[in-house]
Amino acid sequence: MKGTTYPHAAGFVAGDRPQVVTSRFQYDDSYTLQRYLATDGYKGLQAALAKSAVDVHNDVKGATVLGRGGAGFPAGVKWGLTPQAVWPRYLVVNGDESEPGTYKDRLLMELDPHQLIEGCLIACYAAGLSQCFLYIRGEMAVAQERVATALNDAYAAGYIGKNILGSNFSVDIVLHWGAGAYVVGEETALIESLEGNRGMPRLKPPFFPAAIGLYGKPTIVNNVETLSNLPWLLRNGVEAYTAIGTATSPGTRMVAVSGHVKRPGVYEIINGTTTFRDLLYGEEFCGGIRNDNQLKAFVPGGGSAPWFLPDQLDLPFESKLVGAAGSMLGSGAVMVMDDTTDIVAAAYTLVRFYAHESCGKCTPCREGGTWLERIMMRLVDGHGTTRDLDQLFEIGQTICPGEFPHAASERLGLEAKPFPFRMTTICFVGPSAYTAVDSALTLFRDEFEAKIVQRNLIPVSVGASE
């Protein structure tokens, strides 16, 4: 099977494809300053400092560097949303990676922290951001240690702080770390958390962080992978960057494929063109479903994304197409379920996740999420009733009124309902608690009904390790 793995880079699988952000993963000392400098380190920053801030900003706009945190919003455009003549402006780096199925930002922080730091510096230079806060998920001890070491070395070497590389560009990067709360990944909650508060999202609009963010000042929130793209972009130029992928989805993106595939792993794939079939069955990718079982369903973009069926395998990683097909690319996380999977139990783990991670602010999320979880648990344990199935749907209606997005199914003769949905909550945690329920219920209602009849009292496990 093609594709190379490295003992020091658990999960990462290299292939002979362009490597924009993972080029150093092959080295077991990839996170050190020496290695970084030996492999074009901080050349992107030098290239940036040689230009005006405006030109650098234009490069990022020109390259349409899409946000990799979930929303897929172009970074260059976001930087332009700060209100004129309002200072100071801050950069907050979102390293809170917690979306079920998502594993990429942690790799980038553990294996190439200097690349991230360089990306932060370029962003601060381009957008006039005078202080940067690098927020790393609390549970990621090694990532915190690697980034801390990298920051210390970079400060000592003059890449961070006052008059960087002798220029008039000065910025501090402060390492900040969380304490375990998925919702804090949401940018407004991230800011609340960074201000020392409970991580409850602030409603937006009218308060986009770019306008009113940290300490009430304009704040750019960008994802770790997004920023890690910038050094390569500045080194190789816009043309080189847009030469990869498609016009609407240029460059590469990191995708973690987990679950029932032969070779689960994190792959840097070409944006826009690579299809899910390539990824799940391709030789240099996952190489097929484990034990050559049948594919039952897969989650295309992290736990918040509506599920896909084999019907959708030929869709490429292109947000418009995936959206039209009823789901989203989200955070580059594909979770694969083969035909041995207990769909109800599988959906339950995701419902439980979002119910547990609700911040408690919005009534529908706080109450509805737990309500869904309770019913799903009943169903998993075989105590459910048909009444419960309608109730699940009714609760969904309170969180997300109207028809919920779902994939097309030949088997069920079902048309796709495109993304997105309407919602009664502030952030997406509420809807996400219902997403898996809706997908499972819409695409596999028979399995729910089977459980009701079965009255199966032995707790079932979602799937076996073999």
Partner: protein, 207 residues
């Protein structure tokens, strides 16, 4: 063991000094308290409130929002077995049941000898390495029941002391910002002009 000790107060003040507003240091300081005592004591909460200028109720409100902070003693080793989808698909439940049997406690509780606290955790961003777990936030990947037995055994015999610090300590490397390099912090409201490297405000509408 209660308020932050002298060394930690010094470090706490250094951390506070990195933020335009002291309150931002709340979570790092709570970690410091947990590192000192193994869990977050009420005295520490009061002390932190005084340091960052918030009431104890506010600090408690922040602290209890986050998973990692514990408010009574937990085991020397906190074993978090991920049970979210990717791990569940590859036998997380099985692994959890095995752990419960091995340690003789249910998920969410601590062994009588105070050595292990077992918890069922949510996604740990290692989904391709399922099923996975963390011991005091150090990862173990693709864990079989046999791996788990060995791990627990090694831990209880101190064979992993070098690699896995006692509960409370997360990162062992700390950021140091050299005083001769730092730009320093400014009260957000005191900054009213663009940074020097930014081009002069060309035709910028007044705010």
């Amino acid at each position: 063991m209660a308020r932050l000790n002298e060394a930690n107060v010094v470090y706490a003040k250094e951390i506070i000094g990195r933020y335009p507003k002291a309150r931002s240091a709340t979570i790092p300081l709570l970690h410091l308290a947990q590192q000192q005592d193994g869990y977050v004591t009420n005295e520490a909460i009061e002390h932190i409130g005084a340091l960052v200028g918030a009431t104890s109720a506010e600090i408690l409100g922040t602290a209890t929002f986050y998973e990692m902070f514990k408010f009574e003693p937990v085991g020397k080793y906190l074993v978090n077995i991920c049970t979210t989808l990717s791990c569940a698909l590859l036998g997380a439940d099985e692994l959890m049941h095995h752990a419960e049997r091995h340690l003789g406690v249910k998920a969410g509780s601590t062994t009588p000898d105070g050595m292990f606290t077992l918890e069922s955790a949510e996604c740990q961003a290692a989904c391709t390495e399922a099923p996975c777990l963390q011991v005091n936030y150090r990862y173990r990947y693709r864990v079989t029941t046999a791996d788990l037995d060995t791990l627990l055994d090694d831990l209880s015999h101190g064979r992993l002391d070098g690699e896995v610090p006692p509960h409370g300590t997360v990162a062992r490397v700390r950021q140091q910002i050299p005083s001769d390099r730092t730009v320093g912090v400014f009260a957000p409201d005191d900054v009213t002009t663009a940074p020097v490297w930014m081009p002069a405000p060309t035709a910028e509408a007044p705010k």
